[in-house]
Amino acid sequence: MSDDIHVFIEHLRGEVAEITLISLAAARVIAEQTGGEVVGVLLGHDVQGLAAGLAADRILSIDDPAAGDYSPDLYIATLAGLIDSQTPRAVLFGDTSMGAEIAGCLSGRLGLPLVGRCHTVRAADDQIRVVSQICGGKIFVESALPESTVVVSMVPGGHRPDDGRSETAAPIETIPAPAFGEPRVALKRYVEPEIGEIDITKEDVLVAIGRGIQLEENVELAEELAQALGGALCASRPIIDQGWLPSSQMVGKSGKRVEPKVYLALGVSGAPEHVEGMASSATVIAVNTDPAAPIFDVAHYGTEADLLDLLPELIDKVKAAGAG
């Protein structure tokens, strides 16, 4: 086994995912302990330019016209071959739509241990410790990085994306693409994001609702507040899945990323998948009856008031202040 740490460079339609920068930052912590190099693994077609600005010691590039778009089968088989031949100490992926399935399948196929939901890595007592974030951000689990080649899937929040950037260009080594048969999964087409009536990424004030809103008829109350504030309504995943708001108003991992001046979170627990989409908001005010709700971690102001009691008061006062 080598001491190198591999980082899968996740990219989609010409853009590198932020989780790749976070993974590079985490990989650096591990590499300092093992004495190995941080190696960026770039799979795709005509994408070598994407390696610029990444904090890797070197880049392994596999260029294949068939890998121009993400194809689970082909990516997994190619990376399995690479891990077999290079035997890195660890391979890091983002816990994303693309990364999670590659990481899981590689672990299963190659019989490698997998540490999931990795939030932070750190060195301790000659060991590499990994802290995973589970239970919607309510529990952290510390484990030792297994001693064999290990697959790790990373979540945001622990390492800074800026630590995964570099001004120095890493040398790129091109390795030939392995032969590959007919993939069992094939991309047919992309479906562009639904364009909603309002663009929540451009609003100064967002009123966000989560499961705590309880009933569909309560959505109107939140809408009334959003209108009184001259802002817009958005929501976490459970609300969208219930069909109470259109998917164009979803904030989080598979929804929009927003950075309003004020983000008023009503009954939103603050699961990591949601926080990913709103953590950069200038001011976050959270209303949640659960004092252990992780939303209070990213909030600047919080209250344990019951939102259904608070909302009518707030609407009245906002309207009065607005009218004045």
Binding site: L12, D69, P72, S97, A100, E101, A103, G104, S107, G108, R109, P113, L114, G116, R117, R129, I134, C135, K138, I139, F140, V141, E142, S143, A144, V151, V185, A186, K188, Y190, V191, P193, V205, L229, P238, D241, S247, S254, G255, K261, V262, A271, A282, I285, A286, A292, A293, F296, D297, A299, Y301, G302, T303, A305, D306, E313, L314, K317, V318, A321
Partner: protein, 255 residues
């Protein structure tokens, strides 16, 4: 179309979570287990596929307080077969590597065309179940799906990417799919229909094979994060809290 749905039970996050005396696991004394939310979507998607194209739906779960209720509810919604694995319990929070092996042993006998599972669970510590299961079964996998169509042996799925982008993919059957959201919200069920299912439906108990538990990290410690250290908490009566929020909004120049 022979569809299998795998269901995990997970701690209810609405309840307070406590760590046990070993410091490495959740205290199960008061732990309430509920169906993994996206598994409910996987079941709904399976039922939608059955209604559209025929076939049967087999629901597989393991032991744990509430497992029976989950299975009877699945029967009341229209599932055809219910299987509970004995000898493995969600109360012990088994890793997904372990679960993939024991579920695969049962699924091999069922010979499903499609295996649906929730794309993840909030307590996944060693990756999600779907990809690990797919590798055990030698089947292809694709996850983060919010739509599944099958026609003439061709399966088309809608995979979600960040920012609302999606990709339509075609996957060869048999396959394992990780469901993020069903095309319709999971159907509502009256308690009376579950009671009725309890009288008429049969749960088949299968003994789980003694599982190989390798693949998951060894836990050194478990802890709760310090929540709300950064947040200034607003307390008092509702009108006082509302007044304070209005002040904050005014300070930001928004009112």
């Amino acid at each position: 179309m022979n569809i299998a749905v795998l269901i995990k039970l997970v701690p209810d996050l609405v309840e307070e979570l406590e760590i046990d005396a070993t410091g490495t696991a959740l205290d199960t004394t008061w732990l309430r287990l509920i169906i993994n939310e996206v598994d409910e979507h996987a079941l709904e998607q399976a039922l939608l596929l059955k209604e559209r194209g025929g076939g049967d739906v087999t629901v597989v779960t393991a032991e744990g307080d509430g497992a029976e209720d989950v299975l009877y509810a699945a029967a009341a919604k229209g599932s055809d077969r219910l299987i509970r694995l004995r000898g493995i319990s969600f109360e012990d929070a088994p890793g997904n590597h372990t679960l993939a092996r024991v579920f695969a042993a049962v699924l091999r006998d069922l010979e499903p065309d499609l295996v649906l599972t929730g794309v993840q669970a909030h307590n996944d510590l060693d990756g999600s179940l779907g990809p690990l299961l797919a590798e055990e079964m030698g089947m292809p996998y694709v996850g983060y799906l919010s739509g599944v169509q099958t026609e003439d042996g061709v399966c088309r799925v809608m995979k979600e990417y960040p920012g609302g982008l999606a990709a339509e993919m075609e996957i060869a059957l048999p396959a394992v799919l990780g469901i993020q959201a069903s095309e319709e919200p999971p159907r509502y069920l009256a308690i009376s229909r579950i009671r009725q299912a309890m009288k008429t439906a049969t749960i088949v108990d299968r003994e789980a094979e003694q599982p190989d538990t390798t693949g998951a990290p060894g836990v050194i410690s478990m802890f709760t994060p310090e929540v709300g250290e950064a947040a200034t908490m607003l307390t008092g009566a509702d009108d006082e809290v509302a007044a304070r929020i209005v002040e904050i909004l005014s300070e930001q120049g928004l009112l």
